[in-house]
């Protein structure tokens, strides 16, 4: 196993036909870290992963493993493991041979190949299926083979490209725990690409949010959840109510904004002065029904298990998304209040 202290991406850029798919990604990955690259489709997260893997050549920038330059090496000589969205199992090889493939490529002694293959198959609990072909396995089992194939090499870095997106909801949750468990027990440095913010928040030590090929924010899950750096990150992190407002007053403690017949208090993210156009962001769970709030009419009610998701329209026509404990009916008049500690105000 090749060990390293840190992996450094320095201004990694990739252009396709003159257009930047990824521009100037700089990031330091510490040994043992679990990093999630997060963003909507087309944001450049898969490009970043493929550049890191060596499957795409860089247009600019460099990748360093401690003092060794990596971006000039072909993928097979970087010593990374990768799990693909489509699993990409070799359809003509059995589970065992799939897992052993990389070890054979390194020309390891037969006994060691056997020992490590068995170990990896046991790790993902597929002992009974070792002689089957990938086509005979379920989606979740195929995914586990793909993971075993990547980790059996004890790679210095594991790359995962939306590995759970082809699984159904229940299996996705199970595999999430499974991957996290593997990460903790093996201590493998991991870069994980996903478009699912919930998945990223629950699994990663640090998140990198990308949009249009540029880094929007890097931080721990709590940081991104409570303090998104801009309205795009907020939008992506579940701030469904993004309301265009005008700043009435700004103080170091809070700003007051108004617009659409509403007045809200919240925390300013960035420089704001009175009179500025701004965007107020609130999560649906931070809007409640309460006395003396904004009057609105209920339009749609969705049952979501413990709570109800409600869409209501204010008298000025703004749509609000909120949660409610009891079921209002469409057409009901309600009053909506926001928790000032949870309202964020972004400059435009």
């Amino acid at each position: 196993m090749t060990t390293f202290e840190k992996l450094r991406l320095d201004g990694v850029t990739r252009r396709f036909g003159g257009k930047d798919a990824l521009s100037g990604l700089s990031l330091e990955i510490r040994k043992g870290e679990f990093i999630a690259l997060l963003g909507p489709s087309g944001c450049g997260k898969s490009t970043a992963l493929n550049c890191l893997a060596g499957l795409l050549p860089l247009s600019e920038g460099s990748i360093w493993q401690d003092d060794k330059r990596l971006d000039t090496l072909p993928p097979e000589r970087r010593g990374f493991g990768m799990v693909f969205q489509s699993y990409a199992l070799f359809p003509h090889l059995s589970v065992r041979k799939n897992v052993a493939f990389g070890l054979q490529m390194r020309r390891l002694p037969r006994t060691e190949v056997r020992r490590r293959t068995d170990e990896a198959i046991r790790l993902v609990r597929l002992e009974e299926h070792a002689t089957k072909l990938p086509g005979q396995l379920s989606g979740g089992q195929q995914q586990r083979v793909a993971i075993a194939r990547a980790v059996v090499l004890e790679p210095s870095l594991v790359l995962m490209d939306e590995p759970l997106s082809n699984l159904d909801a229940k299996l996705r949750l199970e595999m999430r725990t499974e991957i996290r468990r593997l990460h903790q027990s093996l201590g493998l440095t991991t870069v994980y690409v996903t478009h699912d913010q919930e998945e990223a928040l629950s699994m990663a030590d640090r998140l990198v949010v990308l949009r249009d090929g540029r880094v929007q924010q890097v931080g721990a899950p709590e940081e991104l959840h409570t303090r998104p750096a801009n309205r795009h990150v907020a939008d992506f992190m579940g701030y469904r109510n993004l309301l265009p407002m005008r700043v009435v007053s700004a103080s170091p403690a809070f700003v007051e904004v108004e617009g659409g017949g509403m007045t809200l208090r919240g925390t300013a993210i960035g420089e704001l002065t009175a009179g500025d156009e701004a965007m107020a962001g609130v999560r649906p769970e931070d809007l409640r029904l309460g006395e003396g709030g904004v009057p609105a009419t209920v339009e749609v009610v969705e049952y979501q298990g413990r709570e109800l998701a409600v869409e209501a329209r204010t008298e000025q026509g703004t749509m609000l998304h909120l949660r409610a404990a009891e079921r209002p009916s469409p057409g009901d008049k309600i009053s909506v209040v926001a928790d000032p500690a949870r309202v964020l105000v972004f400059p435009l």
Binding site: R15, F16, G17, P57, L58, S59, T72
Partner: protein, 290 residues
């Protein structure tokens, strides 16, 4: 150096493209170079200046008429093959018992090739062949119908080899059209005729054009059967015979090359015309899988 390689790689140029080299080399040396050589040769006749060979071809009615003869044979044959295939394939596109056997049987004439088909046609359609014998004993005709060593012999040979080809192609194009489209049309109240000509036919049109082109190319290159079952000195003196005679009997290579060039140009003109018509139709997904 690395920068250049990066820039090229961005546009998709890297060492993997070298895999194309052997194939390209073969096509260039065995197809493009000889063809260019032939074109060059056609402009260097023994007499009559640069265009002498072409002048010889177009002023001599015996030579010039081969174009018409070839088109008169190949266009109707290609048209019949495609036109007959559509209703048959339309009826057979579903699954039924024996479909595999039927399609297998249809492959037989394609593999027989023109030479064997010619021999069979001479025997079967000849004056004392089984067909004339059957028709005479049934009292339909009094004297044997002459079906070989003339236009019809060659025409039959083109149908025998060309129809299965067209049929199998059209059948696979039809299978590529999502059958739920017609079912959807049926739920909207369309009968079988509107379903066919407003849904299936427009989706099939590009496939029909391609099939017509390929069948036409096959018929246009008619050569051995035109000699064996046709009337190679008269009504079925097709353009390939003219080219072959020029090259191997009068050893006039410039003329032979000129005829080959004319043949290529006429053929590509027909193909281009058909594909031009095709581009007027919808071309895109036909909703089928693959």
């Amino acid at each position: 150096m690395t920068a250049l390689r990066h820039r090229l790689a961005e546009r998709g140029v890297d060492r993997q493209l070298l895999l194309l080299v052997p194939g390209l080399l073969c096509v260039l040396t065995l197809f493009v170079y000889p063809f260019a050589y032939g074109v060059g040769l056609s402009f260097q006749p023994t007499h009559g200046g640069v265009l002498g060979a072409y002048k010889d071809f177009f002023t001599d009615a015996y030579q010039r008429d081969t174009i018409g003869t070839t088109l008169q044979l190949s266009l109707p044959a290609a048209f019949l093959n495609v036109a007959a295939s559509v209703p048959i394939a339309y009826r057979m596109r579903g699954r039924f018992r024996g479909k595999r056997l039927l399609t297998t049987l249809l492959v037989v004439p394609i593999t027989l090739g023109t030479v064997l088909t010619a021999e069979g046609l001479l025997n079967f359609l000849g004056p004392t062949g089984w067909l004339n014998r059957t028709l005479m004993s049934a009292g339909i005709i009094d004297a044997p119908v002459r079906l070989t060593n003339n236009y019809w012999g060659v025409f039959f040979s083109l149908v025998i080899t060309g129809f299965p080809f067209a049929f199998l192609l059209i059948l696979s194009y039809l299978s590529g059209i999502d059958p739920t489209l017609e079912r959807a049309a049926a739920t909207l109240g369309a009968g079988w005729w509107p379903r066919f000509h407003r849904i299936t036919l427009p989706l099939l049109a590009p496939g029909l054009a391609t099939t017509f082109c390929l069948t036409f190319v096959l018929a246009f290159s008619v050569f051995p059967s035109a000699i064996l079952v046709g009337d190679p000195a008269g009504t079925t003196r097709v353009i390939s015979i003219a080219a072959y005679h020029a090259a191997y009997e009068s050893y006039d290579y410039p003329l032979a090359s000129a005829i080959a060039v004319v043949m290529g140009v006429v053929e590509l003109a027909v193909v281009a015309a058909v594909l031009g018509v095709r581009s007027l139709f919808y071309t895109g997904s036909t909703g089928g899988k693959g």
